[in-house]
Symmetry: C2
DNA sequence: GTATTAATTCAACAACTGATGAAATAGGAG
DNA sequence: CTCCTATTTCATCAGTTGTTGAATTAATAC
């Protein structure tokens, strides 16, 4: 079946292997969720022994955390929320949907895992609270900025849930730009108009 | 530990036991999701041997299906969508949030399970497509009724995801009526205004 | 009252899971 | 060249999981 590599350190760069493991982990977690993504499946996909994953990343939860270390969204979010109010909803929807509708998106992976794994839910909560809502608090020039962005975020999360996880046809058929056009007005009202 | 009941049929009504099993299954699935809700945990909660569950309901997936046989939402949804346009968003939000924010809500349970289990995702998709969007198609007197309600549904799904699964403070702190007030305008525009 | 059927537990299996410790090999420092 | 360290596989463990077949008891039909 598998080529049955010999034991012992491989020639060449070692960082390549770590990278392959993380990529295999992301893909497998995204497809299967936390519990059904087995260490053996990830190892097989990376062409590596399961014990090696444990050696590099520790327990399964640490691997998940390492594979989902998302970048701070501040840099991307700031121009969206400080730019002109007309178009703000559109910019936000496009940014998020492009990020979340790529195949094996780590965003979808996080949603899947957060649904059943407490550690993943905690990760996602921290990311939303600090990464997203914290940025809104700092740069969005309207009252109750955290609540405003939270309303947008839940809406967008639901759309991606319906599109990528439940696969409701009304959400899978339109392409990203059509969805952006449908969602933008509601998001923009949440962000800029009186609540 | 457990009282260690004797083997053999118990005296009294037998339907009570089936009911207890279904209730324990719903609660356990809601808390833990499909994979982490073990047959043994459900059985323990129902005060019953795991083999009895299998005897009554067959495999784990059939148990899940039996425990989540949702009622047809048509009766509840029709007055919401045929009533006066002012207040439609409010009625929809209130109906759904009351249903989905009760402890051990089967709605949340379905979301959790759908995130990692294909059969559950299929169940949820069928429920949305036929139960929800089918009703909208029949009774909502505006163009593209399925898409309109789908946009509302994804928004509400996201809110419940943020509130009951991820536990974002901005969504857990307000009570149901405060959330209704925040969401109603956006929902009503989706339902009744030009898209 | 007897025979059949349904409900229930017990014991156990086979498969799979995450994890560990030891052995083998390569890279790098002196 | 030699020694130490980092990387990698192997073999395996201990625990858990869904599921099954046999045994035991109550309800029900005749």
């Amino acid at each position: 079946m598998s080529p049955a590599r010999p034991p012992g350190r491989r020639p060449g760069d070692a960082d390549v292997t770590r990278h392959q493991i993380l990529e295999a982990a992301r893909a497998t977690f995204a497809e299967a969720g936390f519990e059904r993504a087995t260490m053996r499946a990830i190892a097989g996909r990376a062409g590596v022994d399961p014990a090696l994953i444990h050696h590099h990343f520790g327990a399964k939860e640490s691997l998940f955390a390492a594979a989902h270390r998302l970048p701070d969204p501040r840099a991307a979010l700031e121009p969206i929320l400080t730019g002109p109010a007309p178009g703000m909803g559109e910019r936000l929807a496009r940014f998020y949907l492009q990020l979340a509708t790529t195949p094996d998106s780590p965003v979808v992976s996080l949603f899947r895992a957060a649904a059943t794994n407490d550690a993943a839910a905690r990760m996602l909560r921290e990311f939303i609270e600090h990464g997203l809502l914290g940025t809104a608090e700092d740069v969005l020039p309207y009252d109750r900025p955290r609540l405003r962005l939270a309303l947008c975020a839940t809406h967008l999360i639901g759309v991606v849930f319906g599109r990528s996880i439940v696969a409701v046809p009304e959400m899978t058929e339109p392409d990203v730009e059509e969805l952006v056009a449908l969602l933008a007005p509601a998001l923009e009202r949440y962000l800029t108009e009186p609540l």
